[in-house]
Amino acid sequence: MKGIKDNMMSIDGMGGYGSYIIASYSIVFLGLALIWIRSIQKAKRLQIELREEK
């Protein structure tokens, strides 16, 4: 446990790189969420169109 605490990044400062780390992780997970939402939206829209048509 002590070893983990020693290694743990300090959340408050992040060694001066906090803003860079937060920006990177935000961009990537936003990208992942965006591609997920777009894919689901397209699938749902098509499903509705097909149900209405048949």
Binding site: M14, Y20, I21, S24, A43, R51
Partner: protein, 252 residues
């Protein structure tokens, strides 16, 4: 003929592949969340800070998976485009087209996170370095592929032209990978793809491998959804889609 090849031929019809993707999706999604959770906890909290880059090195836990998948997805597109060009298997073109936007997003993320990492480490957001420039060309290849597919109204011709573009563009992948060896670049060399011992410690490597696995599984899960949608869109006049829609209507 071996059982495996027979099984692949059996899967080769859109209808069977549609159901196959539906079965795989929850498994990919579940395992991707587990792998990403371990990778995030390990990368952000358990791995020690780098002796030169400090905590700034933690950006690699999102940058490397994005960069790896940008190339991996493109190579997958090249393989399926080649299959389409040789054997005219429509499903191969459909798979290549379905995964292209996912690859474009990963390429953009790799470029942006690399740029964010570059500012504190190199002192600049961007430099026309061989690795960075070849990765930017990969983004243009993805966008070109998607744009060309949309621009040509005759779908058979669009599929053929885009498959050729994808195969020709494959030349960029070895350039991206070996650019750090061929030219004197600012970008650091390979960390984990060396044949010998990895260049980083195991405490840092394990979360990185976990993140790469998590991102890869997420890509497969998303691809399952996109491929299923594309199959329905292209086969909507066929009988099996009618039966499927009737079943869905009965359920609602």
């Amino acid at each position: 003929m071996s059982h495996f090849i027979q099984y692949l031929i059996h899967l080769g019809t859109p209808r069977r592949f549609y159901h196959f993707c539906g079965k795989l999706f929850p498994w990919f999604m579940g395992f991707s969340f587990i792998a990403m959770a371990y990778g995030l906890i390990g990368g952000l909290f358990l791995a020690p800070a780098d002796y030169q880059q400090g905590d700034g090195f933690r950006i690699i836990y999102v940058h490397v998976p994005c960069a790896f998948l940008s190339m991996f997805i493109y190579m997958t597109m090249v393989i399926f485009s080649t299959i389409f060009l040789i054997w005219r298997i429509k499903l191969a073109d459909l798979i290549a087209y379905s995964i292209a936007p996912v690859g474009a997003v990963f390429t953009l993320c790799a470029l942006l996170t690399g740029s964010i990492w570059g500012k504190p480490m190199w002192g600049t957001w961007w430099i026309w370095d061989a690795r960075l420039t070849s990765e930017l060309i990969l983004l243009f290849l993805y966008l070109g592929y998607l744009g060309l597919y949309q621009a040509i109204t005759e779908k058979k011709l669009a599929a053929r032209m885009c498959a050729i573009l994808a195969v020709v563009g494959a030349i960029d992948i070895p350039i991206i990978h070996y650019s750090v060896y061929w030219w004197n670049t600012l970008h650091q060399g390979a960390t984990i793809s060396q044949w010998g011992k990895p260049a980083i410690d195991m405490t840092m490597l394990k979360p990185l491998l976990s993140m790469i696995t998590g991102f890869a599984l997420y890509t497969m899960a998303i691809s399952c959804i996109r491929i299923r949608t594309e199959i329905l869109q292209r086969d909507f006049k066929l009988k099996w889609v009618n039966v499927l829609v009737k079943k869905i209507n009965e359920r609602h």
